[in-house]
Every structure is written in structure tokens, then in C-alpha cells.
């Protein structure tokens, strides 16, 4: 193992085989500084460019090795709460790669009827699934969808001659809700959770006023609990003239069983990279289409797509909020979304929510950690009790599974927010439960030293932030 054989460019074959993985930076392998000589006058160009210079086989190995230091959905169970990490069907990639779909965003509508037809069909499918009247596909992510929805609410109120200044958001909501509200210039009114983990109607009543532009809710909420009082909540918001927003992060739990539109929501976003199985891509791209009810359709972003007698057209809705993406959104992601929904149909969509909820409930039964709030749907929040939830997560890594989301929502001590999704069968859920339980019975010292079997041992986060080194240039300066 200490043999010099197999060591080149800092890469140690023997270490790799042992599972002890490390890959030098591109810049540590080979770089080249090229003098710049172009037809432009010298004063308009840089003098030189210094970047990695490697052969295709070297690059193929570099990225392949890096990929082997990364955990994907096909690597093992991925029960990351609130993220809906489901299997990404392979065929959707092939559909997205179709050459006929690779058109420029400025093409005249008459020459891209296929692309616009796909937009129209996906708008229609999503509207049906959410119980909405129309849907925009422009927002490139869930948070961008939230901002879009907030801007629509703002434009709606302003159109009615009202300048409402507040958005009400439950304390347990996703951080993006607060940030999106603030980005559009609203004040955030935080709604404390009730003792049962749901919206407390008295607290809601106290937080609503004629300043309320919007109440943002996710349902089931971040504890996985369905807001039983949703009809009452919708009517309370309506009574003060506010609008009701649905954060689609947890829509997987409701597919084919309940539609936000039927519950009184006026605006919603869909996280297609969660609910509709488009890949998360290591952080993105996703897409955050936004659905609205009839009275809000004039405010949708521009351009919008609709079918006419002579085909599909782009148009600017009458009171449009304008643009939320430079062009038309994350095209490749939208193609995959339509492919997935078409594959599943009514039956598959309703079975998805059934199995997602079945799996969460089955897994919760199998694990030794307490789950304080129930009945939950597609996810549950267990408590690590006196143990640091982050330690639990690190120890789970050694069992070949991805850990749950930790320490959030804060209403549960040392939270382990767990969402197995519908893709696991009983065998893999039993394996996952075994990993939870093995960790639950592990001593504190072992937990504190975990993980031991991953490409890197536990990483010093504080040190990274205290001394930010964000490029190989910064490393060279040391």
C-alpha cells in the first residue's frame, strides 16, 4: 500500500483501492499560460490566460473519480426530509436530449410550435394536478416560484388600489418563504406553531389584518401533518382580503388526493425536481412553475403560452408582473417533468402519494427514535433526543445511506426529518431502519468520530468559514 507504484500526479492508486479517496485539483495536475493574440487591439484584450490543460483521457478519469466520491439516488436510500429525493427515470433524460427540442428562445412562435405545444400541455397538466386555472413555467426554481407568487399577489393588491405590507409565514416554514417575501419588499409576520404542530387559529387570527397581502403555507406542513383546518384558514385569510399561497415542497403527499385549488389556495408553486422526479443535479437546476386561480391569471409573467385556433402563441397577460427569468425558464427540466407526468398518469400519480405515505409510516414504525408529531404523511420528524442530530447523520453515512435532514424544523429537539419517498420497497426500508437503529445504539464517542468509511472524514465547517479559501488561487497564496 505504501508502494510507489501507481502514484502519479498526486493520485495514489493503492489509496483509491482501499476506499480512501482523494483526487488532486485540475490545477495541481497541469496548467498552461497562453499569451493572447487576437484581431482586436491589444488594449482591449488580456495579456494571458492560465488554466488547466489536460488530455481527454485524463479529464475523463478526473471526473469519473470525483463522481465516485459523491452519493446519488442510485448509490443508496436518500430519505432527506423536505427534498423528495426520488429516482429519476432514465428515459426522461433521453427525451430532454432530443435534438428537435434544442431551439433558441427568440425563435418566432410559428417556427417552434412543438416547443410551445409542450409548454401548453405541461401548463395544463400542472393546472389539473394543483386544481389551478393556469400555470406559468418561467420560474427556474422553487424559490423563484415563491418570488413570482409574491409579485403576483403584490400586483393584484396594487391593481385593487391596496398597498398591503405584510406576509404571514408559519415559524416552521422553509427559509425561502421569508427570503422571497423580503425580496419583494414585504414585512414578514411570523406565525408560531400550535401545540399540535399545526396552524393555531387564534394565533393566525391575531396575525391577520388589512395589511395582510398573503399567507404562505405548505400542506402537509414541514412536520408532515395535514392542516385539518385548511378550509377555515382559507376563509379567515379571505375575510381580511388576503391571498393564500401554497408552497409545493410537500405536494408529493397529496398527489391525486387533495388539490391546493380545492382547499382555497389562490397561488401555488410546484417543485418539479421534488414531486415530478427531475434530477436535483447536485443543487439544481430545478423548476418552480406557479399556478394561479382565475382572478390572478392576468398577472402571470410574460410571455405566457396559449393555444389559439391557428396554433400556439406567446403573449403578454394583461396585467403581467413581467419577467422572472431572462428567457422562458429551465427548458430541459420542464421536458423531463412532462415526460414523468405522462408516464404516470392518474393512476401512477395517486399511487405515488399512497406509497410515499405508506413508506414514511412503515419506516417510522421500524426505527427506535421517537416521532413526537403524528399522524404524518410523506415525511416524519423523529427526535434524536439528547444526542446531537448532526452526529446521528454522520454515523448513518457509514451504513451506506444518506441521512435525514437534521435540526429542522426546530419545534422538534434534534430533529431527524425523514422522507423515504415512494421509491423504496420494504427491503430497502428495512435496511434503512437498520441503519437508524444501529446508530441509535452507538456510543457517543463513536458518533463523535463518525464517519469513518467515507471519502472524507468529518469536515471542519467552522474553519472553512473562518478562513475562506474559495479558489485554487487562494490556495496558491498560502
Amino acid at each position: 500500500m505504501t508502494d510507489e507504484l501507481g502514484k502519479e500526479d498526486g493520485y495514489d492508486q493503492a489509496r483509491w483501492v482501499d476506499g480512501d479517496r482523494y483526487e488532486p485539483l485540475l490545477s495541481e495536475k497541469h496548467t498552461r499560460e497562453v499569451e493572447i493574440d487576437t484581431p482586436l487591439p491589444d488594449e482591449l484584450t488580456r495579456d494571458s490566460l492560465d488554466l488547466p490543460d489536460l488530455s481527454e483521457p485524463e479529464l475523463a478519469r478526473h471526473y469519473t473519480r470525483l463522481s465516485q466520491m459523491n452519493f446519488g439516488i442510485e448509490s443508496g436510500p436518500f430519505p432527506l426530509g423536505s427534498c423528495t429525493m426520488k429516482y429519476n427515470p432514465k428515459f426522461t433524460e433521453d427525451v430532454a436530449a432530443l435534438a428537435d427540442g434544442a431551439v433558441h428562445p427568440d425563435r418566432d412562435a410559428e417556427t417552434v410550435q412543438g416547443t410551445l405545444g409542450l409548454y401548453a400541455q405541461l401548463q395544463d397538466y400542472l393546472a389539473r394536478i394543483g386544481g389551478m386555472d393556469d400555470v406559468t413555467l418561467q420560474p427556474p426554481a422553487g424559490a423563484a416560484g415563491e418570488l413570482t407568487g409574491v409579485l403576483i399577489a403584490k400586483a393584484y393588491h396594487e391593481h385593487n388600489g391596496e398597498n398591503r405590507s405584510e406576509i404571514v409565514i408559519p415559524a416552521s416554514a422553509h427559509g425561502t418563504n421569508f427570503a422571497s417575501a423580503a425580496m419583494a419588499g414585504f414585512d414578514v409576520v411570523e406565525l408560531p406553531s400550535g401545540e399540535d404542530g399545526r396552524v393555531d387559529l387564534d394565533a393566525l387570527d391575531a396575525s391577520l389584518s388589512e395589511e395582510t397581502a398573503l399567507l404562505m403555507l405548505t400542506n402537509p406542513n414541514t412536520l408532515g401533518l395535514f392542516e385539518q383546518d385548511i378550509v377555515e384558514i382559507a376563509s379567515m385569510v379571505d375575510d381580511v382580503g388576503g391571498l393564500l399561497y401554497y408552497d409545493g415542497a410537500n405536494l408529493n403527499a397529496l398527489l391525486g388526493r387533495g388539490r391546493p385549488g380545492d382547499m382555497g389556495f389562490d397561488i401555488m408553486h410546484y417543485n418539479v425536481h421534488k414531486t415530478f422526479a427531475t434530477p436535483h443535479g447536485g443543487g439544481g437546476p430545478g423548476a418552480g412553475p406557479v399556478g394561479v386561480v382565475d382572478r390572478l391569471t392576468p398577472f402571470l409573467p410574460s410571455p405566457h403560452v396559449r393555444e389559439t385556433d391557428s396554433g400556439y402563441e406567446r403573449y403578454a397577460p394583461e396585467q403581467t408582473i413581467g419577467k422572472v427569468h431572462g428567457f422562458h425558464g429551465n427548458w430541459l427540466v420542464l421536458v423531463k417533468t412532462l415526460a414523468y407526468i405522462s408516464r404516470l398518469g392518474d393512476e401512477g400519480l395517486r399511487d405515488t402519494s399512497a406509497k410515499a405515505v405508506l413508506n414514511a409510516n412503515y419506516l417510522a414504525e421500524q426505527i427506535d427514535y421517537e416521532v413526537p408529531f403524528s399522524p404524518f404523511y410523506h415525511e416524519f420528524v423523529a427526535s434524536a433526543g439528547d444526542t446531537d442530530a448532526a452526529d446521528v447523520a454522520k454515523a448513518m453515512l457509514d451504513y451506506g445511506v444518506h441521512p435525514p435532514t437534521t435540526k429542522w424544523p426546530e419545534i422538534v429537539d434534534e430533529a431527524l426529518m425523514t422522507e423515504p419517498t415512494e421509491i423504496e420497497n420494504r427491503r430497502s426500508l428495512d435496511h434503512l431502519a437498520a441503519a437508524f437503529n444501529a446508530v441509535a445504539s452507538t456510543d457517543e464517542e463513536t458518533l463523535a468520530n463518525a464517519p469513518q468509511r467515507t471519502a472524507a472524514r468529518r469536515i471542519d465547517q467552522v474553519g472553512a468559514a473562518r478562513n475562506p479559501r474559495l479558489s485554487w488561487h487562494a490556495l496558491d497564496e498560502e
Binding site: Y22, S27, R32, L40, T45, R46, L49, L51, P52, D53, E56, L59, L66, M69, N70, F71, G72, I73, Y87, P89, F91, D106, T111, G114, G117, A144, L151, G175, A179, A182, D262, G281, G283, G284, I321, G322, K323, G326, F327, H328, A339, I341, S342, R343, L344, D346, D351, A354, K355, V357, N359, P375, K394, W408, R426, T454, A456, R457, R458, P468
Partner: protein
């Protein structure tokens, strides 16, 4: 495939398994797991028919086949360069494409290192010291910069200045971001397609928090007085935000050297190709604004064994911690596109990047000359250096000319009554002869 017998092919439960699981839970039927009030429950009938995988592929191929097969000479912010097969195959490895944001860095070292290398390449290209690992697109990156400008400013200000020639979609996004931060967007005039320094000097005052310029501009013009823009901005305590892209930056003067505080732009110019406007927002800035950066940053640290390791860092800027006081609401980003951009840049290497950029300068100049040789049309309209694209003036109405060209199989921009715009890159240069011939016929 497999033994599932439920409604979704991706929910692999047999009936027996489902029964056993229900029994463990202690309910009879999976419907019993739902307590949705009856008045808002839904029966599942969306009217969407389930189709076999093969059927969906056939259907969607047929639908997209409705698009006309045109050779595109289109740009204006969305560009096509040849993407090597290496990029597709490596980026589609499941360990990359199906993974999540790197909140557990011990099992995400691979992606974190790729993003660190992407950030590093942008640092080299921009001459600025900090690059984030992606925003959605060039337009939202510009919008984020306006909000950053209003936060870092010592005194209050209420305006951002943008050039007369700017993509309307980009301006639209900027207006939405700016409005929320209490800013308005004003225009400064251009002179023959480039920044008019005198006009900018007249427009700017201490109320301006950010000046935006692009090089190349939306019309493909290479700016010649960026340092003067930087000086004007800095004299008024305004941020200088420069728009560009990684290919252009491979040869153009370094933004850091002309006084840019922030560089934004479309980084998917490398790595993605034509994708109906889907992009990758590039964002780089100076050290002094590090804690105001929107989006994710990857930094170096070490693990318990003392070895170098990568991790997301400075997360207290972000929405999941700082909530309404975060620097941005961005969460899901374009990480996988950044991965593609990094692989594409690495596969070109410095020589390949410079060669590609040089072709963008020569190709635009050559096509402009050939277009100018056609009676009834003159090009380039702006007596400037160009990159990838240029504007031409037509005697006939431009929309009609563009329409006739589409009939002949070529897509170009009609940007005004008598202005066309052409973009030429390595992916359409082989069709230049055909375009010139068709154009000669059309304007005859």
C-alpha cells in the same frame, strides 16, 4: 420490469408487500393513512392517461418534431457552441446528476471539488477574487447584483443605470428585483452601439447605486471604455457591474483590471448549447463583498484526518439560516450546469478557449463583410469591434426579410423596423454560404 404491481412503475411494491406494511402500521388500507377533510378531498381523476415509456418517447419526439428545422444565426444572450460528448457522458453520471446539494460534504466531495474548480476558473477569467457556484441565469444574476449594491452602499440611493441596448428580458428581471429593494432602473444613452461616456456622466449622480455595462453588448459590440465606466461609478460610490461570458472573457480585458466590482453573465455559453434560454448565472465579485454574495460558495477546509476537504461555506448568508435577512432567496440553483461548464472549459483548455474566442471575433467580422457586400443591406451598423454577432441595416422592412429567411431555412433576429442581427459561432459557420446566398435572394 421487476415485480411491482402498483400504479407507479417507480413505486416498487408488490400487493403482498403493501399488505404486510399496512399490517405493521396497523391500518387496513393505504387510504386510511390520509385524513384529508372530505369537502376538499380529490378522487384522483385528472384525466391524464398513463403511457408506457416507449409511448411517451414517441409522443414527445413527435410533438417536438413540430418545430421547424431552421439553421439558427441567433444570439442576443443565448449562444450555441459545440459541446463535446465528454461533457454529456460525465455530467450524466448518476453520482452527479441525481445528487442533492452538498449538505453532507463527507459524501459529496466529488461535486464540491467540481464546483470549487468552477469557481476557480471564473476567478481566473474575471480577475476578481470570489465567484459563487451558480445563480439561475444572467438576468437574475444582474437582479441579485442590484440588491447587493443597495445593501453595501454607505448612504441610501434609489437608482441603477443600464445601457440603452439591453435585452428586454434581462431588464424585466432586473426591474422586478430592483423594485423589491426600492430601486428604479434608468437608462443611459449609447453612442454607435457602445457606452457614451459623456451621456453616462450626465446620467450618473450620487443617487445611483449601480452602473451596469456589457462587453460584448447584446448587439455583439466589444466595449472600448470600460475603465472610464468604472471610474465614473466609483466616483459616485456606485458599484460597477459588468456583464460578459466565459468565452469572451478568455480574451477580453480582465474585468478586475477595468474596475468591475461584480461580473455577471451567461456561463452556460460553455457546456449547455442551445436550450430554449435555460442558462447559468455567472457571479463574481471582490473580497470586500464576500459576505454579501448571493447563492452558494464552496471553500476549502480539512477533515478529521487532517486532509484537505471541500465544503459549502459562509452559509449564514443564506435563506435556510438567515431567512428574511438572507442575501437572496436562492436555494435550488444551476449546479449541474456549472458542472457542465467546468468540464467544457477544462476540455477546451486555455488554448481551446482562446481559439474559440478568436473565431467569435473573426467569424462575426467576416460575415458582416459578406452581408455588407449584398446590395440593399449594410453591416455592421456600428463601427466597432464585434464578438459573435452584429447588427445589419436593411432597406426593406427587417421583419419581412427575417420571415423570408425563415422560409428559406434560416433564423435571424429582426430587432427593429430595419435592423437585423446575426450571430455566428462554430456550430453554424458551415452554413454561412447558404445564409449569404439566401439573404441575397431575399433582399433582391
Amino acid at each position: 420490469m421487476g415485480t411491482y404491481d402498483t400504479g407507479s412503475p417507480y413505486a416498487p411494491h408488490t400487493s403482498a408487500e403493501t399488505e404486510a406494511m399496512l399490517e405493521t402500521i396497523g391500518v387496513e388500507h393505504e387510504d386510511d393513512l390520509f385524513d384529508i377533510p372530505e369537502e376538499v378531498a380529490f378522487d384522483g381523476r385528472f384525466g391524464i392517461e398513463a403511457r408506457e415509456e416507449q409511448t411517451v418517447r414517441t409522443e414527445m419526439r413527435s410533438l417536438l418534431g413540430e418545430n421547424d428545422d431552421l439553421v439558427e444565426f441567433l444570439g442576443r444572450g443565448h449562444y450555441d457552441h459545440y459541446v463535446p460528448s465528454l461533457v454529456n457522458h460525465l455530467a450524466d453520471r448518476q453520482e452527479f446528476i441525481t445528487s442533492y446539494t452538498q449538505y453532507q460534504p463527507e459524501i459529496a466531495q466529488g461535486f464540491l471539488q467540481v464546483l470549487f474548480e468552477y469557481q476557480s476558473m471564473l476567478v481566473e477569467l474575471t480577475g476578481l477574487s470570489v465567484a459563487n457556484c451558480s445563480l439561475y441565469d444572467a438576468a437574475t444574476a444582474l437582479g441579485e447584483t442590484a440588491t447587493l449594491a443597495s445593501r453595501v452602499r454607505q448612504t441610501t440611493g434609489s437608482r441603477v443605470l443600464v445601457p440603452e441596448h439591453l435585452r428586454s428580458g434581462k431588464r424585466g428581471v432586473l426591474e422586478n428585483y430592483a423594485d423589491g429593494a426600492g430601486l428604479s432602473v434608468d437608462t443611459y444613452a449609447m453612442d454607435d452601439g457602445a457606452v457614451d461616456i459623456e451621456a453616462l456622466g450626465d446620467s450618473i449622480d450620487d443617487d445611483v447605486v449601480m452602473v451596469y455595462a456589457e462587453s460584448p453588448t447584446v448587439r455583439g459590440v466589444v466595449e472600448e471604455s470600460l475603465s472610464a465606466v468604472g471610474d465614473l461609478a466609483s466616483n459616485h460610490d456606485a458599484l460597477f457591474c459588468l456583464g460578459s461570458d466565459p468565452v469572451a472573457l478568455s480574451v477580453l480585458e480582465s474585468p478586475g483590471s477595468v474596475g468591475a466590482d461584480v461580473v455577471v453573465g451567461e456561463a452556460a455559453t460553455l457546456g449547455l448549447g442551445t436550450a430554449y434560454g435555460m442558462g447559468l448565472g455567472m457571479f463574481a465579485t471582490r473580497d470586500q463583498f464576500l459576505r454579501q454574495v448571493p447563492g452558494r460558495l464552496v471553500g476549502v477546509s480539512e477533515d478529521d484526518s487532517g486532509r484537505r476537504a471541500f465544503t459549502l461555506t459562509l452559509q449564514t448568508r443564506e435563506q435556510h439560516i438567515r431567512r428574511e435577512r438572507a442575501t437572496s432567496n436562492i436555494c435550488t440553483n444551476q449546479a449541474w450546469v456549472a458542472l457542465r461548464t467546468a468540464i467544457h472549459a477544462a476540455s477546451l483548455g486555455p488554448d481551446g478557449l482562446v481559439e474559440l474566442a478568436t473565431d467569435c471575433i473573426e467569424g462575426a467580422a467576416e460575415l458582416a463583410q459578406r452581408v455588407d457586400d449584398i446590395p440593399g443591406i449594410s453591416a455592421p451598423v456600428h463601427d466597432r469591434h464585434h464578438f459573435r454577432e452584429f447588427v445589419a441595416r436593411t432597406d426593406q422592412p427587417a421583419p419581412a426579410v427575417a420571415g423570408d429567411l425563415a422560409e428559406a431555412g434560416y433564423a435571424v433576429h429582426a430587432i427593429d423596423d430595419h435592423l437585423l442581427q446575426f450571430c455566428v459561432t462554430d456550430t453554424n459557420e458551415e452554413h454561412v454560404d447558404g445564409l449569404v446566398e439566401a439573404l441575397s435572394e431575399v433582399v433582391r
